[in-house]
Each structure stands twice: as structure tokens, then as C-alpha cells.
Amino acid sequence: MIDKFVRSVAEAMAGIKDGSTVLVAGFAQIGEPRALIDGRIEQGAKDLTVVHNTAGRGREGVARLIGEGRVRKIVCSFARSRGSVLFEEVYARGEIELEMVPQGTLAERIRAGGAGIPAFFTPTGGGTLVARGKETRVIDGRECVLEQAIRGDVALVEAWRADRWGNLVYRDAGRNFNPVVAAAGALTIAQTQNIAELGELTPEMIVTPGIYVDRVVHVPSGDPPVVIS
């Protein structure tokens, strides 16, 4: 019987090596696998390349991972954002490498990694600093940039419901990067708010087929924070 559930975050993290590339899903704290990020910190791996939409906010999640000195390089679309204090400190000390990527290119590079497309041309970034140092080509009259796929040694996602095959569904805007990140990890680990019996997630409902998922851990952490600005 296939059963991808593991009993703890520690068990989910087993065997992750220093120097890994870690893809972290989530957008604006929604659908962000916070327990798994914290689990990375406990588990101790360092010298990581982290791929995430931002360099983190406040002192939690990806920001904490950076603050603890575990991240050699961050690949993101927002480096500076409200509350990116830990990143700014570490970056100012020259202790982290930064690769800035337009958000659509970031999502597409991860999607390409999961779909076995090693590289693609995109008009995004043509004629801008983003194209600097990259191969470019004029296609249909527009300057396009050759971008490389991103694959993770590890991919961390948060699901709303998961079954023992690792089939996943997401909640509302918690979908975001999760399906593309789930497909792009050599080892994909999901935390899930809820457990579903096999068959409760119907063929039409399932967003991420379990084939993409290696380990699932039940983390009923509840709603993301409400921020009124």
C-alpha cells in the first residue's frame, strides 16, 4: 500500500544535505510551508540555495532561515519588501548571494524544471538589466531572454488536503506557487492542513497528482495571519 505520510516534520526532513537547492512555495504568507521551513532550521542543513518569491519578511520563515546564516544564495522576485529586515542585514554584510528574477520568469523557470524543459526564451526582461549577461535573441521583433529551468533537490509546499498517495489540493489563494514547486523537486515534501481518505479527493479536484510528492506531514496550523494595512 502506498502511504506517503510521515509522522513528524523531523522525519519529513530526514536526509537533506548541506548545499541543497530548496524550493519554497507560498505567496505573501498564504500557502507557505512554514512548519517545513522551521523544520529545515532544526534539521541543521546549511549552505542552501533557496528559491522563493521573496527574501522573507519579519523574522519568520525564509527570513529566519537567512537570519540564521543557512542560506548561501537566494533566488527571488522581491528582495527588498516591507519588513525584509533580516535579509537586508545579511546582504549588507555580504554574506548572501542574490539572484533577482521577474515573478513570471521565476514561476516559469520552476515550471520548466518540473516539466523537463531545460531552457526557454521569454520577452520578459528584454531590454532591461535582467537581460544583462544572458543570451538574448530577437524573436518576432522583440528582444527575448534565454532563461534556465530551476529544479530543487528539495521542494517544500503547503496543501489544504492530502491523501496517502500524496495527491494535493490547495485552499483559495494558497494555490499560487505550490503546484509548480511540487512538480520541480527531486524530493517533494508537503505539509497539509487536513488529511483526506484516498478517494475523497476526486479526479477532477486534484491539483497536484501524488506522483510529484514524496512525503506528507500533517500540520494543522490553521489560518494564515490577517494583515490589515
Binding site: S77, R80, Q103, G104, T124, G127, V180, P224
Partner: protein
């Protein structure tokens, strides 16, 4: 004292909203562009897209109906219209880049008379800026309308012959809404199609680096 008054943020947002016809699909950037959504009449069906995979956003929720799992790309809590749907992030930005949105309204630092837009970084030496989805939106949407103040607070011009800040995308801007005027970007450059009441053409030109043309 000048005998004219710049449009306020809310007036500007309402002015943009007024120009969006029913049936258009639009993405509204951070800042004043986000406000635009509040001024589209509820009975006018405009489909608002958000980078994080939402098609068909509605206005901000009443506090008692707030869904913590539903935010827009500016991390503001939002609602869904009837008919809305979710996509993953790659498909959502693919929709943008693939030219399926009728309009994207973006904030700006500078716009050049050839339509070049700079809205993500004020210097090549800014080593840790925020790109977000702006470059994808600027190359992808069928039309880019930029909303910004006509000059900086210290009076520096922002409608230029050539942008001095790093570009977001080349030749993408179709129209600029400032606190002083509405300006089309055309083959002959900036063409003024509306001005705040009382502002003369010469006063507008004095605040604009590139030449402005009458409609």
C-alpha cells in the same frame, strides 16, 4: 497661487476606473492602481486578475466576511466575484505574458515618450530591489496604463525623452494618468487628452521633459 489643483489619488483612481469598459480583463498594480478597483461600478463586469492566481477579484471584504486565505498581489484581503477562478502561479503569469489581459494599470517612476517604463528601481546600483510581476505585466498586457504623479515631490520631471532609471520594459506604455493630465503615448510622442481644470498647456509643458502635443 496657481488657479488649478492636482487631482487627488482617489480622483485619479476614479478617472482611470471610468475609462475601463465592461468585459475587460485587467491587472491592477500596487499603489494607486489597486485603488482603481474600488471605483469600478459593481454592475460593470470587469474581470480583475491578480498574479497569485486569481481571476475575478471583487472589492475588499467586510471585516466579518474576511477570508484569511484570499489576498491580492499587494497582500490585501479581497473577495471574489461570482464567476471567479484560481490558477497556479505559472499559469497566472502565463496568462499575463501570453497577452490575454486587456489592460494592466501600473505605478511608475518614469515614462519616456517612446513608451519605455521605469517602475522598479531608481538606480543600477540598487542591489536588492523588488521586481515582482511588473516586467511580465509590462511586456504581456495588451495595454499598459501608468498612474503616477507628474513630477517628484522635489519637482523632478518623470515624463521624459529617455528614462534615466533602469527600465521595466521598452515601449510598453500606452497612456499615462498623472495628477495633472491624461496623456497618450503615440508615434509622435506624448499627446495630452485631458488636463486638470485651469492648468494651461504651457504650465503642463513646463513640468514635462519631453515635448507634449495637443490632441
Amino acid at each position: 497661487m496657481p488657479n488649478w489643483k492636482p487631482w487627488a489619488r482617489e480622483e485619479l483612481a476614479a478617472r482611470v476606473a471610468q475609462d475601463i469598459p465592461e468585459g475587460w480583463s485587467v491587472n491592477l498594480g500596487i499603489g494607486i492602481p489597486t485603488l482603481v478597483g474600488n471605483y469600478v461600478p459593481p454592475d460593470r463586469e470587469v474581470i480583475v486578475h491578480s498574479e497569485n492566481g486569481i481571476v475575478g477579484m471583487g472589492p475588499a471584504p467586510r471585516p466579518e466576511a474576511l477570508n484569511p486565505w484570499l489576498v491580492n498581489a499587494s497582500r490585501q484581503h479581497v473577495t471574489l466575484r461570482t464567476g471567479a477562478s484560481y490558477m497556479n502561479h505559472a499559469d497566472s503569469l502565463g496568462m499575463v505574458r501570453g497577452g490575454h489581459l486587456d489592460l494592466c494599470v501600473l505605478g511608475g517612476f518614469q515614462v519616456a515618450e517612446n513608451g519605455d517604463l521605469a517602475n522598479w528601481s531608481r538606480s543600477e546600483d540598487d542591489s536588492a530591489p523588488a521586481i515582482g510581476g511588473a516586467m511580465d505585466l509590462a511586456v504581456g498586457a495588451k495595454r499598459i496604463w501608468v498612474v503616477m504623479e507628474h513630477t517628484t515631490k522635489s519637482g523632478e520631471k518623470r515624463l521624459l525623452r529617455r528614462c534615466t532609471y533602469p527600465l521595466t520594459a521598452t515601449a510598453c506604455t500606452k497612456r499615462v494618468y498623472t495628477d495633472l493630465a491624461v496623456i497618450e503615448v503615440t508615434e509622435k510622442g506624448f499627446v495630452v487628452i485631458d488636463r486638470v481644470p485651469g492648468l494651461s498647456f504651457d504650465e503642463l509643458q513646463a513640468r514635462t521633459d519631453a515635448e507634449v502635443h495637443g490632441a
